[in-house]
Subunit: 119 residues, 2 copies
DNA sequence: GTAGAACTTCGAGCGCGCTCGAAGTCAAGA
DNA sequence: TCTTGACTTCGAGCGCGCTCGAAGTTCTAC
């Protein structure tokens, strides 16, 4: 089994080592397997979690919500409540996308107007 | 000329009065016209600025950048540099939208997978 | 065996973007 | 005129999400 060190994993997902450690400490990813010497050894699963969490953060999902999600999944909680939360997040993302479309158009018009007005 | 008070303007664009005052103080909007008593009286132009700035903030444009933009426009600076910055921001928005699309799909797959796996 | 790099934990600090409270001023209604 | 309440400035405080430094440990190369 190939494993990665903290810095390798951080590079892989585009985070700093500090951020990666913070993610584990803050419960944004499940505990990462360790070597005999106590160092993190990211296996495929740990890396997948890290990637997924990095994605959720990039989407603007709050740390507290990701923490709840991770806790729910790792505890094997049978309630579907957290999935509902995720579903809602996806809905919110769609809204945000639509809003983004409108905003892009608005900013473009502004820029174009200023350009045609001779700066 | 119809003008709005701070709280009316704030309601209109979905900000708090504190945030509106902060925006002016921080140079995110040009100085707002005042009544004889020193109170803000938002005319159409001031309101348009407020709406636009609120939009830019919602898009994630940093306060410092908006400040530069506002300073550039209000000073009538002839350089097109700030427009370039805005153009770059629009490009960044497009990238972000594309990323958002990918992420939405990714999260959806995850949610669907957990659902079909019986929670 | 030892130097040095890379890792570890812990806790403090920081930048952003507001947010709020204090203390005072202004405006509209009774 | 007086009350009520929304407005004003100013500066401090705060929550989030890292970020960094200190002090110590472990791994790797020589």
């Amino acid at each position: 089994m190939v494993t990665l060190t903290t810095s390798e994993a951080a590079d892989r997902v585009g985070l700093t080592v500090h951020a990666v450690r913070y993610y584990e400490r803050a419960g944004l990813i499940p505990p990462v397997p360790r070597t005999a010497g106590g160092r993190r050894a990211f296996d495929d699963e740990a890396l997948a979690w890290l990637e997924y969490t990095a994605c959720l953060r990039a989407l603007g999902m709050p740390v507290a919500l990701i923490r709840r999600y991770v806790a729910s999944v790792t505890s094997g909680s049978p309630t579907g409540a957290i999935d509902l939360v995720m579903q809602e997040h996806v809905e919110a993302l769609r809204d945000r996308r639509a809003q983004l479309d409108r905003y892009i158009e608005m900013v473009e018009r502004k820029v174009a107007a200023r350009r045609s007005a001779g700066r």
